[in-house]
Symmetry: C2
Subunit: 418 residues, 2 copies
């Protein structure tokens, strides 16, 4: 019995790594004043058809439910956000700064770094058209990656502006119904042979490749880089107009985060989508918006490939998972005192385990160590004294059981909230 | 545009309540030495057909995917756990103490307290047949509910033993192929008219109702209650053989948690399923196991209906969501200093926000208060001094900007990890 192809089981070690990633995401989003929301894992198919990019629509994990509804496992979070915002925005002051950590799905051939599901941090600002919001969002994207131990040597945000290209399309009199195709071609140009891109671009090829060679820039883009410089984050970002983003709904500044070594797919990406809320609400509500997403799969690969980032993750995960106190029953008659005390320890917030089946004393100590316990508390002949053994130092002492809590308080790294 | 019927949007306030529930679940499971795992939200349909109870199979959220696979959104977590354990158990010492917080799905008519999706805490012990494991699991179920501020006046665990009833079925020579039907009828008897139950039970009706009237007990059940008494938890549990549980795979001790006032559905339930791992692995692996689940919907309703529990939740949620420091720019020329300082504050772990669009100073202070900020840090004419206003006390002082961090450290409730 296997999980479905493209889906992951999270055994405890990998679940702890996933939770480490989620916790950092929540922490950094919180520092920027973002609050968490969530939506359904299943939505009406119509929410995605046409509003998302072609690539997403082709890969939708869609089906017809028992009630004959055309539905899809969410391929991305932005349409859900736009739907909620269109319906509920009146109860909130603008701008909204919202984040979410959805699991998202696509039906495509699974390959390295691309499964049929993954988790994403999504951070969005809704109701703010100032470019300050674009800078704030890009700064957040940088800090989300920095939080894992990466530096400006490890990654860079390539910042672009779709308007830069739509201006060119206007200038070159490309009919609007061909814009999406042209933008997609520009977006894919790095990953395609030059001839293929030239063929697709037709008469646009010449100006586009000229821009690629001399680099493009704009006052808006320079303004954002300057804002990042004020924040001390300039080393993490550069203008690069080759970034366009695959989704149909982007309207302005767009950006993608890459590892500098070029070993991985894009780590994160996002941008402005000022029309999406209006489109999804049939123009009942119009709100400018922008956001980005970062997935757990590529980020996880990158962490595991990076000495410092990996060590930081392993240290945190080990500390959070370990049992702190292992209760050892050295005399069977002490079982009652042992579990009564264990309950009080757990009530005070300590992580405590013991041998459910009973076992020889030596084996109980071995289990304590295998569980990563810091202390063993031993119930035996000495009762009402109990033994407290520090499994790090090997030091053992005898403590009156009513003084046990005071003694434990001398170990500041234990987690009790008492 | 609405979410699909039976699915929830989690706006920030309700998402924070959900996360409060999840955090408590994780904390209490950790105190008992449980580690988290997860599995796919989508599994092969075969994993559930026949192994789960009839009710679950009837309500499966099933479909055929684009690859012609019969799949289902998971209706419960136990089959996934059993699948993973059967495949991977060799890498782990027994017993496993594992928990998970899956979202689970069913396709039925939505009604109060029963949507088409909800989240569950699942806690399972695998590889331990000792009744001590049953007591440990029931103690954990009790502590999970207590953690929200409920007492023995608010809820009770009704503990039963399926073997108590299967012994009777043997004694009365009921053919094994009718056992599940009989057990389901006994399980439903509290919610059905007596005549209906009698009709379904046939010749079993007399002994069953006799047991209902005089109460049933067994040495195993008494043993578990005694273990809970040693833990100081006896007031939270009672033997009640009317509990049978609807799922087909239970084999021994079963239990359900109810509010004493009888206002809600069962809050939690679980029991032993010693044969499931063997069944799902075609007898390749046989491991005794037991577990329980508690859902977020009924628990959430119960918290909101309980003065103390509700106040505890609201207090925690408010503290965790609030921005701590609001950066006020009183002079536009100070914008650069303001956002440079803001970046350093966020780097140290403070939750910091500011007005993206810029605003009059009075409005920035109002925004600071509306965001629940504890402090406003003001950048204006005084630079390189900055103003620090305590928005709780109204006290304001001027601090050299390089001494700002030392000053902030005097507010111990702020979250900096520096």
């Amino acid at each position: 019995m296997q999980p479905l192809i493209g889906f992951r089981d999270f055994l405890p070690a990998s679940c702890a790594e996933r939770n480490y990633i989620f916790a950092k995401w929540r922490e950094i989003a919180g520092r920027y004043g973002f609050v968490e929301f969530d939506g359904p894992v299943l939505e009406e198919l119509d929410l995605y058809k046409k509003k998302s990019g072609d690539e997403i629509v082709r890969q939708l994990y869609e089906f017809v439910d028992k009630g004959e509804r055309a539905v899809a496992l969410r391929p991305e979070m932005t349409p859900t956000l736009a739907r909620i915002v269109a319906a509920e925005h009146r109860q909130f002051r603008k701008p909204l700064k919202w984040f979410s950590i959805p699991q998202v799905f696509r039906y495509e051939r699974p390959q390295r770094g691309r499964l049929r599901e993954h988790f994403q941090l999504n951070c969005d600002i809704v109701g703010e058209e100032s470019p300050e919001a674009d800078a704030e969002l890009i700064a957040l994207a940088i800090d989300v990656v920095r939080a894992f131990g990466f530096t400006a040597q490890d990654f860079v945000v390539r910042v672009s502006d779709r308007e830069f290209w739509t201006e060119l399309l206007k200038l070159e009199k490309v009919p609007p119904d061909r814009w999406e195709e042209m933008l997609q071609t520009i977006d894919k140009s790095e990953r395609e042979p030059r001839e293929k891109t030239e063929e697709r671009l037709g008469k646009l090829a010449k100006p586009v490749f000229e821009i690629f060679e001399k680099g493009g820039e704009s006052a808006k883009l320079n303004n954002i880089i300057e804002n990042l410089r004020l924040r001390g984050l300039a080393d993490f970002a550069k203008v690069d107009v080759r970034i366009v983003r695959g989704l149909a709904y982007y309207t302005g500044i767009v950006f993608e985060v890459f590892d500098r070594a070029g070993k991985f797919r894009a780590i994160a990406g996002g941008g402005r989508y000022d029309q999406l809320v209006a489109q999804l609400s049939d123009n009942a509500v119009s709100l400018p918006a922008l956001g980005f997403a970062i997935g757990d799969v590529v980020l996880g690969e990158m962490i595991r490939a990076h000495t410092t980032a990996r060590a930081q993750m392993e240290k945190t995960v080990a500390a959070e998972r370990a049992v702190e106190i292992y209760v050892v029953t050295a005399k069977e008659e002490q079982h009652g005192n042992a579990i009564a005390t264990m309950q009080r320890l757990r009530d005070r917030g300590y992580r405590v385990d013991y041998s459910l089946a009973g076992a020889k004393v030596a084996r109980q100590f071995r289990l304590a160590e295998q569980n990563g316990a810091r202390l063993a508390v031993v119930f035996g002949d000495e009762w009402p004294q109990v033994g407290v053994k520090d499994l790090e130092t090997g030091e053992q002492r005898s403590v009156a059981h009513e003084e046990l809590f005071a003694h434990l308080a001398t170990f500041p790294t234990l987690s009790s909230r008492a």
